[in-house]
């Protein structure tokens, strides 16, 4: 799974990608092409490296900004380097690109073995980042250039000059060829540096943290950066939430409407992706564990575009996820209110059955939000819900473990808070009470 494939995920990771201050288009491309990490050792190594850059951001911001300014000059010359490795004769534009890359790396104390490359492309030892076929490449070149300048209309001289230039381009290309792999690696390292610095600065700006790896997931104070930004624009704050889950123990999240269940699920999904792509996490602390597959089942507007009813799209999405679980790899499955668009009788049955179907899967971590009361052997979390009597913040979004799987009946109270037609809600209240008596 590449970053490119999850950047539009409904979990909203796009926000952090957009806010990432990458300096070069090439780094953006490299990041989008990055594969999701599944090996905890690799992830830990990535975070060890990010910690270094984060420390640098805190200790020497000036140096970081200087490095980022230089990285604006990073260009994708992988095509040129592939031509070089493939035996082609390069031209001035391509020599310029290579010299530019080597000097950029040198200015960032990287690619020290590229000193020879710079020597080849800087025969006069000027150490400036420009390039042309310097007169000093050959005596013949200088003499022919002088001759053509004296007699610009002599076509034989012009041809001789062109031939000498072509010969030199081949000589220079051959000299550079042994460094093609080294240049490729430097190019890649510079893109990685651009990404790491941008991630480290984002950690500082958004208040992100470095997680540790463990066998289960425990997060405190998680928040959704995109939702937080939208709330802040309206003068409100995001209430951080704690959550924990592990493989083999299904978890359901129940709670009032507007209680933040879906946002919590999106945040969990985003944290998991961020962890497996080595970004800082929006939380106070986090112990994370990698999965081979992350599946997020949530209705989105894409369903309407494909012409499927929301029920059909949802059922098919969960069906595909179940098939993935059956394959046996480590899977994180996040399902937002399954069967919510159908009647509560069949809906409850579908949800209860899905939990049974996915019971006893030791490699599966399942987190599901629902409005239905379903008993299961796993854990149940509940949104704190409406705080009685308080003005201002009326909803407490925190999630708490609960023994009862009975969903709270707060929809009518919330509707009243929203100022919905009182006669309607009072009638609903009467009907409810009659049913329960």
């Amino acid at each position: 799974m590449k970053f490119r494939e999850i950047v539009e995920s409904p979990c909203g990771i796009r926000y952090l990608f957009d806010e990432l201050g990458l300096q070069s288009g090439y780094a953006r491309k490299v990041l989008l092409d990055r594969e999701m990490m599944v090996d905890p050792d690799r992830i830990d190594a990535a975070y060890a490296s990010l910690r270094k850059y984060f420390d640098l951001v805190l200790s020497d911001r000036r140096r970081v900004e200087d490095m980022r300014f230089r990285l604006q000059g990073l260009r994708d010359i992988s095509g040129t380097l592939a031509s070089l490795a493939g035996g082609a004769t390069l031209d001035e534009i391509e020599f310029f690109e290579i010299k530019h890359l080597a000097m950029l790396a040198q200015s960032l104390s990287m690619g020290t073995e590229l000193e020879t490359v710079i020597d080849i492309l800087d025969p006069d030892g000027l150490r400036i980042g420009t390039f042309y076929l310097y007169d000093s490449y050959s005596v013949a070149l200088r003499q022919l250039r002088d001759a053509v300048e004296q007699d610009p209309d002599d076509s034989q001289l012009q041809e001789d000059l062109a031939n000498e230039e072509d010969r030199l381009k081949k000589v220079i290309s051959d000299k550079l060829r042994p460094y093609a792999a080294s240049l490729q690696q430097t190019l890649r390292e510079l893109a990685d540096l651009d990404i790491s610095l941008a991630q480290a600065i984002q950690m500082h700006v958004e208040g992100l943290i470095l997680p540790s790896s463990g066998s289960a997931t425990t997060i405190t104070g998680m928040f959704h950066p995109g939702v937080r930004a939208a709330l802040r624009a309206k003068g409100r704050e995001f209430q951080p939430v704690d959550f924990a889950f592990e493989r083999g123990v299904p978890a359901t999240v129940i709670g009032a409407n507007m209680g933040g269940k879906t946002v919590a699920l999106k945040t969990l999904c985003m944290l998991q992706y961020l962890y497996q792509f080595g970004f800082g996490l929006p939380a106070v602390s986090a112990v994370m564990t990698p999965f081979d597959e992350i599946r997020f089942c949530i209705g989105d507007e894409q369903d309407e575009k494909t012409g499927l009813s929301s029920f059909a799209a949802e059922m098919q999405r969960i069906d595909r996820a179940v098939a993935v679980v059956e394959k046996g790899g480590k899977v994180l499955l996040l399902v937002d209110e399954p069967a919510r668009t159908t009647n509560p009788v069949e809906g409850t049955a579908l949800v209860a059955a899905l939990l049974q179907r996915l019971a006893d899967k030791p490699n599966l971590a399942l987190v599901m939000t629902t409005h239905y009361t379903v008993e299961h052997a796993g854990q149940c979390w509940r949104v704190q819900g409406l705080l009685p009597g308080t003005k201002g913040r009326r909803m407490d979004y925190r999630l708490v473990r609960t023994a009862s799987h009975e969903v709270p009946h707060e929809a009518l109270n919330i509707a009243r808070e929203l100022g919905i037609d009182a006669q309607w809600i009072d009638l609903a209240d009467t009907i409810m009470k009659r049913q329960y008596e």
Partner: protein, 316 residues
């Protein structure tokens, strides 16, 4: 040496033509020939694909730009590889266009180049900013054919306008049309107070609102339809329309005059300085106008010297 001294007082100058074959390229070459490039770092580029060897529409020969030793120029990879004097590469851009990336180089000897620089106004501005490390004193921009947008003061400080028989084959008509463009270039700067009403297009304008608002900000283009609506809803008294700059005005001369007669006025947020007007009395279809009469009449109408640089080959 007409108007070259004026050019050196600015950091960026666009050369724009009112029509194809209005003599824009000759005008640019004239300026380049007379610039003291020994003392000033000059960079030249064009916007869009205006560097073809033959004019794509009429097939007439399109002269190349002659850059002088020490001058910077920006063109596409394709045209850089095709034709250039010995040049030192300074930058290869990041944005891909149909003709490849934009290459910035310094000519190490005099020679001809095909100019095809950044492909949009925004890309052009980014390129201009990227030059600041090279110590450039003056940037010349070869505006795209019949596209005045390059001359927007948001991009360049000053402009040279070229017009000619290709724009109109009748002297009176040519003078009238050119003078109208000059009039728009000279629209006064907006001085306040800040308008309470902003409109972006004729469809978003509620005619009822015109009654209480005498100063209206036009966001984007001022079209004939929008101006017509304002004029019709004007009633009595003065009204002022505020536009970004003269390149946002796309209305006919007749309608503009009618608007002004009713007490209307247009002002701009940013103003471009018009340095000179050059004429080319020869049209691609063979019509040749009397150069002296053309220069005299246009000059009298706009109150600015007008030059036929091809015919007169002014002394350096």
């Amino acid at each position: 040496m007409p108007f070259v001294g004026e050019i050196l007082r600015h950091r960026s100058v666009s050369i724009v033509g009112l029509a194809k074959n209005a003599g824009k390229t000759e005008c640019l070459n004239y300026i380049i020939r007379r610039l003291p490039v020994e003392y000033f770092n000059v960079a030249v580029t064009s916007i869009g694909i205006d560097g073809e060897t033959t004019d794509q529409v009429t097939g007439t020969a399109k002269p190349e730009i002659t850059v002088r030793e020490g001058m910077f120029f920006a063109t596409s990879e394709k045209h850089f590889r095709q034709k250039r004097p010995l040049s030192e590469l300074y930058d290869v851009g990041d944005e891909d266009t149909a003709l490849g990336r934009v290459v910035t180089a310094k000519a190490l000897q005099e020679g001809k180049v095909l100019l095809s620089g950044p492909s949009s106004g925004a890309a052009l501005k980014r390129w201009m900013r990227s030059l600041k490390d090279f110590g450039i004193d003056l940037i010349l921009i070869d505006g795209a054919l019949s596209r005045l947008s390059t001359a927007s003061p948001a991009i360049s400080e000053a402009m040279v306008l070229s017009t000619g028989a290709a724009y109109s084959a009748n002297i009176r008509d040519l003078v009238g049309k050119t003078a109208f463009v000059v009039e728009l270039i000279r629209l006064p700067l907006f001085t306040g107070p800040e308008p309470a009403l902003r409109v972006s297009s004729f469809s978003s304008l509620d005619p009822g609102l015109l009654k209480g608002n005498r100063v209206i900000e036009v966001e984007g283009a001022l079209t004939d339809r929008l101006l017509q609506m304002v004029k019709n809803g004007l009633g009595e008294g003065e009204i002022e329309l505020v536009v970004g700059d003269f390149t946002k005005v796309f209305c006919s001369q007749e309608l503009y005059r009618a608007f002004v007669r009713r007490g209307g006025r247009i002002s701009v947020r940013l103003k471009s300085e018009l340095i000179a007007v050059c004429v080319n009395p020869v049209a691609p279809n063979g019509i040749v106008l009397d150069s002296d009469i053309l220069c005299q009449e246009l000059s009298a109408k706009i109150g600015l010297p007008v030059y036929d640089i091809v015919k007169n080959e002014y002394e350096i």
